[in-house]
């Protein structure tokens, strides 16, 4: 019988104990004695969230293909268990072996959103390891990070030994081989290993770099301490996605995951070039998986997991060149097998409406547009390649197709946003509602249509054209949301309109953490000491504690967000060669301020800097 790290007594005290037992279908058990490297891969949030993440599943598969590596999973213990573990001195463990993390060679975390930063510390702390890299001893695990947040690794730099910049499929074999060789030698030391690791492409070792600051607090210089350590860390990019590991036997969670389904990543990267979107920049260029590959993956993954739903994953599925063929295959296969198909991120046109009609109940479902901004002027500023006409035509077709519910996603607080742009949001909603009543004759209607607008507050991210943009105080965001709400009530079709908006508490903090520098590690540590964890969860987020942490550390958070940054400023993340050049981003920032749109990658090349990678969409021009 399986040995568990936690006693029955503890497991019966906590919510959803099945989060902590491992033993899932397709989880991988190896003999620890036959493995040279034990890797704990971690998503620093609760099990149901972490298990929905594809990246971890890919790396889990890839690492475990090596007979000398056993990769296991770890997620954040929910606060109820966390406090019991802390009180009773129980060490955090990996799900498969239930062994304490301190016994592992590596702990690798994926950082998907800034609000998980205190959870990083919870993991390290519960693993009974020092929070700061500099305090760790030779016999302790190497702690690594990857994922979108690491494109500005500086706020969390002090916690990690290595931060990997790029797509996980490329450089880990070199790292594992190096580790094995050095570990086998008599004079292994952590310092020597990290020094060598820093020479592997994409591996950033924060302790080998030093930052100096100007009197105004901005970065003066950022450079490697030693001459053999690369001055720039280059983002690593997969050339051919048909050749990489993919989890054909996905681990099937015991507790229902947020995304309880097969995820089929059809392509990576995006051609659109929306100026607010970090993913649209840092995963360039767009690279597709072949139709045959995807058919095989879909079939195998459904068969091996038993999931009854499959979802296409990409930044803009409509841009996949073989979408009709792929959907024909899926619809045929899934109909027989009673499997649901979920189609997020589709552009709304006749083709996608036809497809949606085949896979969902029109009466119950809604059609989603993401215009991101209410006015065409603002949509041009953000380079959202969606015109007013596209939205109106798409809505009209949707109404004619039988849909009565339309959802619209917007952002508030975009650079250059004026009051009229804000007011344009409910006006657009009203126009769509009006369209329904004009399009569908009274006798064919079943009640009102429902147009739901929701807004989130924009947070500028590194490696986007808006990385220079300033943010606003919390009250200003809420004021803008109130303008939408009040103006909605003035619309003719107000009874058909709904508006949802988020709280602004986390917006400002997320902004600080996204574009902060190394000085913030101390603040994050202080916030953790004050009791902050699970900041991404409304019920646990405590702004007062964060404010206290900033003041305890003598750091002014506003410095990082409340100014439009100078074009000449050196950013904490500029040492990363993301392949999208700063010159391109600056060009885009300037075009944004003039409201000039930039063509997408399929129309023409705008010289972002990715072309030398010689792959994907870049090869078609």
């Amino acid at each position: 019988m399986r040995k568990l790290a936690l006693s029955d007594d503890i497991l019966l005290q906590v919510e959803k104990p099945a989060r902590y037992i491992g033993n899932e279908v397709n989880s991988i058990i190896k003999d620890p004695d036959s493995c040279d490297i034990r890797y704990a891969i971690c998503f620093p949030d609760v099990y149901e969230i972490g298990m929905s993440h594809l990246g971890i599943q890919i790396l889990y598969e890839q690492f475990n293909r090596r007979p000398d590596v056993w990769c296991e999973r770890v997620y954040s213990p929910w606060p109820d268990l966390s406090s019991i573990m802390k009180k009773e001195g129980i060490s955090l463990f990996a799900l498969e072996s239930q062994d304490p993390l301190g016994e592992f060679d590596f702990i690798g975390m994926t950082l998907q959103y800034e609000m998980c930063y205190t959870n990083i510390l919870q993991i390290i702390d519960l693993a009974k390891l020092p929070l700061f890299s500099r305090d760790r001893k030779d016999d302790m695990p190497i702690i690594m990070a990857g994922g979108p947040c690491t494109y500005n690794p500086e706020p969390i730099a002090d916690f990690f030994d290595i931060i990997y910049i790029g797509e996980g499929e490329t450089s880990y074999d070199s790292l594992f081989d190096l580790y094995k060789t050095m570990r086998a030698s008599d004079d292994y030391s952590r310092r020597k290993f990290l020094r060598e690791a820093s020479k592997i492409p994409g591996m950033y070792v924060p302790s080998l770099y030093e930052a100096t600051y100007n009197a105004d607090g901005t970065l003066k210089d950022f450079s490697a301490i030693y001459s053999d350590v690369p001055a720039k860390v280059e983002r690593q990019v997969v050339e051919d996605l048909n050749e990489t590991a993919y989890p054909m036997k996905p681990v099937v969670p015991h507790v229902q995951a947020i995304q309880d389904r097969v995820t089929l990543e059809i392509m990576r990267g995006c051609i659109r070039g929306c100026r607010f979107c970090q993913a649209g920049m840092i995963y360039r260029p767009k690279r597709e998986r072949s139709l045959d590959t995807l058919k095989k993956y879909a079939y195998e993954m459904l068969k091996n997991s038993g999931h009854e739903e499959i979802s296409l994953s990409s930044l803009s599925s409509s841009d996949y060149s073989k979408l009709p063929e792929l959907l024909d295959f899926l619809i045929e296969h899934c109909n027989d097998e009673k499997i649901n198909i979920s189609l997020p991120s589709l552009r709304i046109d006749n083709f996608s409406l036809d497809v949606m009609k085949k896979v969902q109940d029109v009466r119950k479902s809604s059609i989603t547009f993401a215009p991101e901004a209410g006015s065409q002027r603002m949509r041009d500023v953000i380079n959202k390649g969606l015109t007013h006409e596209d939205i109106i035509n798409g809505s009209k077709e949707a109404f004619l197709g039988g849909w009565t519910k339309i959802k619209l996603y917007f952002m508030l607080g975009l650079p250059g946003e004026e009051e009229e742009d804000i007011r344009a949001i409910p006006e657009l909603g009203d126009e769509i509602a009006m369209l329904y009543y004009d399009t569908i004759p009274k006798e064919e209607r079943s009640g009102r249509c429902q147009v739901t607008m929701s807004t989130s507050f924009f947070v500028p991210k590194p490696f986007t054209p808006f990385q220079w943009a300033g943010m606003f105080p919390k009250e200003e965001y809420l004021r803008r949301a109130r303008i939408v709400n009040d103006h909605m009530k003035e619309q003719l079709n107000k009874k058909s309109l709904r508006y949802q908006w988020h709280q602004a508490d986390v917006t400002v903090l997320e902004g600080i953490l996204a574009r902060g520098d190394r000085k913030l590690s101390a603040v994050i540590k202080r916030a953790y000491e004050l009791g902050c964890i699970f900041d991404a969860w409304g019920e646990y987020f405590d702004l007062d504690k964060w404010e206290q942490a900033f003041s305890d550390c003598g750091i002014d958070g506003d410095f990082y967000i409340m100014r439009t940054r100078d074009k000449a400023e050196l950013f904490p993340w500029d040492f990363i060669d993301c392949k999208v050049s700063k010159a391109f981003l600056l060009r885009e920032w300037e075009r944004a301020s003039k409201g000039v749109v930039t063509p997408n990658c399929s129309m023409s090349c705008s010289g972002c800097g990715c072309r030398p990678l010689s792959t994907g969409i870049c090869m078609t021009h």
Binding site: M1, N23, G306, E308
Partner: protein
Amino acid sequence: MEGTYKYRVKYEKTGCMKFLGHLDVLRFFQKAIKRSGLPIAYSEGFNPHQLLSFAAPLSVGVEGYGEYFDMELQKKCDETDIKNRLDSSMVDGVKICAVRQLSDGSKNCMASVSAAEYNIHFLENEYDFDPALSLYGFYNYLKEIVITKKTKKSERVFDIKPLIYECRLIDGDVRVILSCGSIDNIKPELFLNAYYDYTGIDPDSLKYRLTRLELFSGAYPGLKTL
């Protein structure tokens, strides 16, 4: 449903799998059936779901050795073949014990279940008496075991003794057969709480482990395993 073939599956849920809640067990089997490739039948409509019916839910933390669900297949299949295919889709801790075809029109297992047998094992404690013997004595000594059942609206006082069909001492443990199902569902915790209340023993000082051994249909004393 018309034209389907109904099978009853008996399974064990032990070890770490006892920590799965009822809905998680349901999802576990839905996916396992899908992996097994058995021709499971689905409901009609836009969101078809597998035609499954589970007998009485088992509390989180309790091992079950005689658990049941019914499933409807689109085709008639060999019982042994079904058992083997399902069993190869299991994980450590869940074992398929038996599969048998049900006759047309038989009640599903959720509606059929009328009683459940539990084993109560007391864990190590500081007391100088044998708690199993004491619990057994409690059951035999009292003519009535009265508990108060609170609902949102009212408090109801009633005697659960008639619903405890059997109480025996076996290998130092207490073995009970309790009424179970939609009408009089007596959880073993109810019986134990009545014992703690009556004796004044602090439940934290005397912990126990429950195991569910079997589920029955029919009326006592003519109970039949499901």
